[in-house]
Amino acid sequence: MERPLGTIEKPKVLPISKIIVENERVKTFFFNIEWETRPGQFAILWIPRVNEKPFCISHNENGEIGFTICHVGDFTHKLFDLKVGDPVGIRGPYGSWFKTENDYKTILLAGGGYGVAPLYNLAKSLEKKDIQIHFCNGARTNKQLLYIKQLKQANVSLHISTDDGSQGQKGTVIDTAIKCLEEDKIDCAYFCGPELMEKKLVELCIKKNIPSQVSIERYMKCGFGICGQCCLDDSGDRMCQEGPVISGIKAMQHSEFGKYHRNKSGVKQYYENNQTKKL
């Protein structure tokens, strides 16, 4: 994206307008901000004197942008202490998005853990379209499932799975997604979650000749395409600009997909093979 000289890119500080507690370790934070966003895009949140981190946009309705966020580290620890009215810096929206074509009749959305957030946004954006949606929603246990109430009310075929069998099918989102891919004619599949899960499902889609799109999360420092921290091997594609959403076929052309990512220093961190069990 070219930008005119004089472009300003700084966090805009806004009060948190609403907080929804989704489950024991996930909350959705809302801000009143008029943005045109697309499902799969992200924004960067800043807590002064703490840090700045990217989060995918899970809600954009009636002038409110929402982020469904899991309590995982120092930044989210601070964020979870904040209340409605507390100031947070926000900049974006950034990145590519999940694309749907007009001739799609049936699509599959499969999200593991808090990976369901952008897919929920995608499902909501398609509500008024004549398109059948299979939504595979998986978590470790029923207490960690997200958006179940909303999805039950929405016009989607919901397939729930939990690792411990406490709700829905016992197993992972891979199991329910495979079942959908086998049993229905899927025009396109959309995946967001642990990368090994994404890779396994993309491989199956390629084998079955079904188009797919995945969201790839990488450490980033700028969000606007210059720091180089989020570039994939071996193309150098930036997950803040050409990503985070890319086609499954493109993802498979990258040697690091499902294998490793780089940390804050740029050191490669290899995914553990049991990552899929950590939904």
Binding site: I8, G89, C227, S265
Partner: protein
Amino acid sequence: MDISTGIGKLKLKNPTLLASGILGVSRASLKNAIANGAGGCVIKSISLEERPGHNAPNIIAFEGGLMNAVGYSNPGVEEAKKEFIDLKSLGAPIVASIIGKDTDEFAEMAAKLLPGEFSAVEAVLSCPHTPGYGTMAGQNTPENTESITKAIRKKTDLPLFIKISPDSQPIGEVAKAAEAGGADAIVAVNTMGPGMAIDIETGEPILDFKIGGVSGPALHPIAVRCIYDIRKSCRLPIIGVGGVTFGKDAVEMMMAGASAVEIGSGIYYREISIFKKVCEEIKDFLKGKNFSSLQDIIGLTHKIEK
């Protein structure tokens, strides 16, 4: 039209290089920059040990350009040696960028990182926002510039570039010190400042490190003046860097005395394909003015003064 150039022994197909600190974290990014027209690349600076860098916000854009305090995040020399492999096959020269806390550490970095893959080395004595390095450690004085340059020179035969700060004045003295230490070229300039941006809603500094180096269009006229001053005081080739966004900016630096330019913040405004765009704009300029090569414009401002 031929726009090849050279920095001493180092030959370049065109005068645009990817500047250090922008994109150059991985080999894949260098490949991407070269595919988009870069005549060469400088990697993101490497230190002895792994460094996570400062917390974010690390980079903002303001009216005049960018301001950053990344804080030299890098995987350390051992990981970097695994990352930057098979560089000769990339089709353009790759310049290592090294940093160190003192003279001995620069020498150690040169000995550990340089053998094998790189075409040249850029030693950075001028970062304005990382404690222990650059201007925050006084590496930009003429005395320290000379001693660090000498120490690296002893460890490598590669073309040695010294990257200096626009805030070291008189800058010609720093360039002369690098020349005395055995440098092959001067890279002018690093980011300036540091500057500061405050969020007026909260009163909080926006960059987590509070202050950061200023780059982009605001730096450009200062960089041009630094290049002009350096050319007056020493004979080493100069690589111009600071706010090259359009071909005209590169031409201006070359008239002031630069033999090539590095591009960093310009990618923010004109995408990675900025290298191709700037090269085309330089060619159009040369044609329009009936110049036959870059040699006609390098140092032109000094020539017509005489």
